[in-house]
């Protein structure tokens, strides 16, 4: 804001990028140095450092694109950047909380900022709708979360994760109040990660929100939700009580099927990404379900692979949307002829998302299947395998539009920052796909 007063808007984005890079470095300094902060509300561990690093990286990429994305809206760029960084702060809280209150704070910091951003195209009714819908549904979910936390507190007399865990292990039969609380917390978390049947907001909000925010939601917000859920299940709930496991099992099946089957019928790129995000949530729920066999590295790898593929896809989609004025799949028609480099980038992103080698998405799926199999989730893995076949079809719809359809007249402008993001993300996806130990060995 100070910058605004001094009329230095031009420098906001570079400064924020540099700031984030510095924080990224500071974050890495905590590696292998577990500590707790704020009266044991936050616990820094390798898990939280790795995920926070990923969160900062995603924000950095989004900011690089934001400079270009908001060129026509420079008056408000400081607001956008500030809110984006708020979201990151919330996400980082969700990745390192030790205490349910801190988790709630993180979720709220992230969500409230996101409601504002989803509706930030003031004169666009769809964006208003998205913001409003997200706000209504999200605050409802927050209320449920709070109710759940209260019930858990009522039985444990503490918000602290380790005390909840020892409460579970000390009591052979858990009081119904506690179980209800846990399930309610579960509902709210599943809403945040858009798992079926709590997913209905996602396609509308993804479609209505400005495309850059959609990119942010589909990567960082989802990953933060899963990091929080994983932390909750592993540290707080002793790797899952039978009740939560049953719930997650059913939800995972539903999510996989809903996400993939609905994605087949989409003709809007953002809705397609929303449903593909739902199906990825299904895969990631499998990781949470196999929490007993120490899968934090799998979750991290999968998240990172998913993030870079998603960012690469949006780095191509954003300039295409801008130049064609359309967000339908038909906007990509003939991109292979108009701009072969962008088309190649999007193709690689889609192949990565579909989980085909040599990209990181493939290894993510492979680790996931292996770990889930190891935990005895035989049938659901088979279902996930079948779902990844379905996934290929809709990812290839984009590829087919780019190469198979005739191009129209519009020229695609592709500014440097988008190109940069595309190259960086594709290179990372390829690098992590060829040398997966770069990431997987971090959290062993």
């Amino acid at each position: 804001m100070l910058m605004e007063v001094l009329n230095l808007r031009k420098f906001i984005v570079p400064l924020a990028v540099i700031g984030l890079a510095v924080i990224f470095g500071l974050n890495l300094q905590d590696w292998n140095q577990p500590s707790t902060h704020f009266n044991d509300m936050l616990g820094v561990s390798n898990f939280s450092v790795a995920f926070s690093g990923l969160a900062l990286f995603i924000t950095l990429i989004i900011l690089v694109m934001a400079g270009e994305y908001y060129t026509n809206d420079e008056n408000h760029i400081s607001d956008y950047v500030a809110i984006l960084i708020f979201i990151t702060a919330g996400a980082m809280m969700m990745m390192s909380f030790n205490n349910l209150v801190m988790m709630f704070l993180g979720i709220e910091t992230l969500s409230i900022a996101l409601y504002a951003l989803a509706g930030s195209k003031r004169f666009d009714t769809r964006s208003n709708e998205a913001g409003f819908k997200y706000f209504l549904m999200g605050s409802f979910a927050s209320a449920i979360l709070l109710f759940g936390i209260a019930l858990v507190y009522g039985s444990v007399h503490s918000f602290h994760l380790s005390l909840i865990a020892s409460f579970i292990s000390e009591n052979s039969t858990l009081p119904p109040m506690f179980i209800t609380g846990v399930i309610l917390i579960g509902f709210a978390m599943l809403f945040k990660v858009s798992a079926a049947p709590f997913h209905f907001w996602a396609p509308d909000v993804y479609e209505g929100a400005p495309a850059l925010i959609t990119a942010f939601m589909s990567t960082l917000v989802k990953i933060a939700g899963f990091a929080a859920l994983y932390r909750l299940v592993t540290i707080g709930f002793n790797n899952g009580t039978p009740q939560t496991d049953q719930m997650l099992y059913v939800v995972a099946i539903l999510t996989l099927l809903t996400g993939n089957l609905s994605a087949l019928a989409q003709d809007n790129f953002k809705r397609l990404m929303a449903y593909s995000g739902i199906s990825h949530a299904g895969y990631m729920l499998l990781i949470v379900l196999s929490a007993k066999s120490n899968v934090s590295s799998t979750l991290f790898y999968y998240s990172a692979a998913y993030a870079v593929a998603g960012l690469a896809a949006f780095s191509v989609a954003l300039p295409v949307f801008k130049s064609t004025g359309s967000e339908l799949l038909s906007a990509f028609n003939g991109l292979g002829k108009k701009n072969p480099v962008m088309a190649a980038g999007l193709t690689m992103a889609m192949i990565g998302m579909a989980g085909i080698p040599p990209f990181a998405g493939f290894f993510g799926k492979f680790y996931l299947f292996t770990k889930a199999f190891e935990s005895g989730l035989f049938y659901i893995v088979l279902l996930a395998v079948i779902n990844s076949m379905i996934g290929v079809y809709y990812y290839f719809k984009v590829i087919m539009a780019m190469y198979g359809k005739q191009p129209d007249e519009t020229q695609i402008e592709n500014p440097l920052s988008y190109q940069l993001v595309m190259w960086v993300c594709t290179a990372l996806s390829l690098l992590w796909g060829i040398v997966p130990s770069l990431l997987t060995d971090l959290l062993l």
């Binding site: 292979g336 085909i356 199999f373 190891e374 893995v381 290929v392 087919m400 997966p436």
Partner: protein, 477 residues
């Protein structure tokens, strides 16, 4: 270390060609495929056929789950590597008088395909093998999709999804094997020594077999094949039919048989029967075909059906024959599709009824085409003969009646191939064939080389049989 060179020459070439322009792209492609052929030839000369793996390369890759990069060849895989690297220069050369749009991408994809195919045949770790198996799918998808005919969008996505369904089931099977193997490894040596209980092999067999059966394709998994062959550009069809389907038949011998031997024996009868049904079915459909490319596609289903039946007869002759026939079929089918392409480029049609009288116009083409046709109907002294003979012998040892039906392939094959030849080449002059321009130098060269190979390996099949003998003896132990 030689296996690494075999892998990285095409990969390097593929990246290099991406930056070449126009005609330089195909010239570069030819140069690199020839270099690759020389390296393969060198590998053949120094390879000692003793049943074990040669040119091994091992390198730890991922710590958890344990994955090692492991390359190496035995006689069976070396034969396939030779086939791949022998056909690639021919396929590249066959495009020398054709104008492909964006040739640098086309040939880069083709060389990338060669890289992936070599990788499939060289891999000794199931996981690495799987990665190459999938990698091979991507370039051929784009070749068929970007350079195919007007039906390509529908056809290629069907092909892609169909084959991917198979591979994902295979991956599922490999994950299971990985977790149940005591050392937690997917190395070929581990997998073949450790045997999971036959209760699991029953269904594991189908998981792995599905991937191979779709790729080969074995009846009733073949429905993607004729359309894809028809609509892919000719060079793509050559890659698909000449080399890529051999990935499936090769994997039956190299991966399926030694890893799930009990499952293999349990389902042997079912698969042989399916294969024989496929042979007869595809032959009959081939007789009905009016389109040259579709006819060759169905004849290919019949031939690979016989190869699969030979593998599943699980006899020395059957296995030997299948390998000899894979090598022969690769050469013949590339020749057939090339001849179809020559005819199409000159007459503008592939409808058999519209063709006729080409022999009067062009004697040389007619004679060369005849050699290819005779090779594929397995006339003695051509390369098809020794393979089909051994295959039928193998099936005969397994079951007399099945071999009778399988033997129909030779009769029916002669019917549709010779009838086609008669209608297309001799017969009365059709109005479509007012003139048949002479062959280009590259067309002549490719056809003469293919004809030469057909006769050469038909007269001297011993080197092929000797190469694979020790590895097959190992399998049968």
């Amino acid at each position: 270390m030689l296996s690494l060179e075999l892998l990285f020459i095409p990969l390097f070439a593929s990246l290099l060609i991406l930056f070449a322009k126009g005609k330089a792209a195909r010239a570069l492609a030819l140069v690199f495929t020839l270099i690759q052929l020389l390296v393969t030839g060198y590998a053949y000369t120094i390879y000692k056929a003793n049943g074990g793996a040669a040119f091994e390369f091992t390198q730890a890759w991922v710590k958890s789950p344990v994955i090692n990069i492991h390359f190496g060849v035995d006689g069976i895989s070396l034969l396939m590597v030779m086939l791949t690297n022998l056909l690639l220069p021919l396929i590249v050369l066959s495009g020398f008088n054709r104008e492909a749009k964006r040739p640098h991408i086309f040939y880069a994809l083709m060389l990338f395909m060669q890289f992936a195919l070599n990788g499939v045949f060289l891999s000794m770790d199931a996981f690495v093998y799987y990665i190459f198996w999938e990698l091979a799918l991507i370039p051929i998808y784009f070749i068929a999709f970007n350079w195919g005919d007007e039906n390509r969008a529908k056809v290629t996505i069907k092909f892609f999804i169909y084959t991917l369904v198979g591979s994902l089931l295979m991956l599922f099977g490999f994950v299971f094997l990985y977790l149940s193997s005591p050392q937690h490894s997917l190395d070929w040596n581990t997998l073949t020594q450790f045997k999971t209980c036959s209760c699991n092999q029953t269904w594991l067999f189908w998981l792995l077999f599905a991937a191979f059966a779709i790729k080969i394709p074995i009846f009733p998994f073949h429905t993607w094949q004729p359309d894809t062959y028809k609509s892919a550009p000719t060079q793509g069809t050559m890659l698909l039919s000449g080399i890529m389907l051999k990935m499936g038949t090769y994997s039956l011998i190299k991966w399926l048989l030694p890893i799930v031997p009990d499952g293999f024996k349990e389902w042997q009868a079912v698969v042989i029967t399916l294969s024989v049904i496929g042979i007869v079915y595809a032959s009959i459909i081939a007789i009905m075909q009016t389109d040259l490319k579709r006819l060759f596609a169905y004849s290919s289903i019949a031939h690979v059906g016989l190869i699969a039946a030979g593998v599943f007869s699980f006899t020395q002759q059957g296995l030997q024959g299948s390998l000899a026939q894979m090598f022969a079929h690769g050469i013949n089918v590339v020749g057939l599709f090339f001849c179809a392409d020559i005819i199409l480029s000159r007459t503008g049609t592939l409808q058999i009824s519209n063709l006729g009288g080409i022999r009067n116009q062009n004697r040389l083409f007619s004679s060369l085409f005849l050699i290819v046709v005779l090779g594929s109907v397995a006339l003695p002294l051509t390369n098809g003969f020794i393979g089909e003979f051994l295959l039928l012998y193998g099936v005969f040892e397994y079951n007399t009646w099945l071999s009778v039906f399988a033997g129909l392939t030779i009769i029916l094959g002669a019917v549709y191939m010779l009838r086609m030849f008669q209608n297309v080449m001799s017969g009365p002059d059709s109005e479509h064939i007012s003139s048949f321009p002479p062959l280009h130098w590259n067309e002549k060269l490719v056809l003469i080389l293919i004809g030469g190979l057909i006769i050469l390996t038909g007269v001297f099949p011993a080197p092929i049989l000797e190469l694979t003998q020790p590895a097959i003896d190992n399998l049968l132990k």
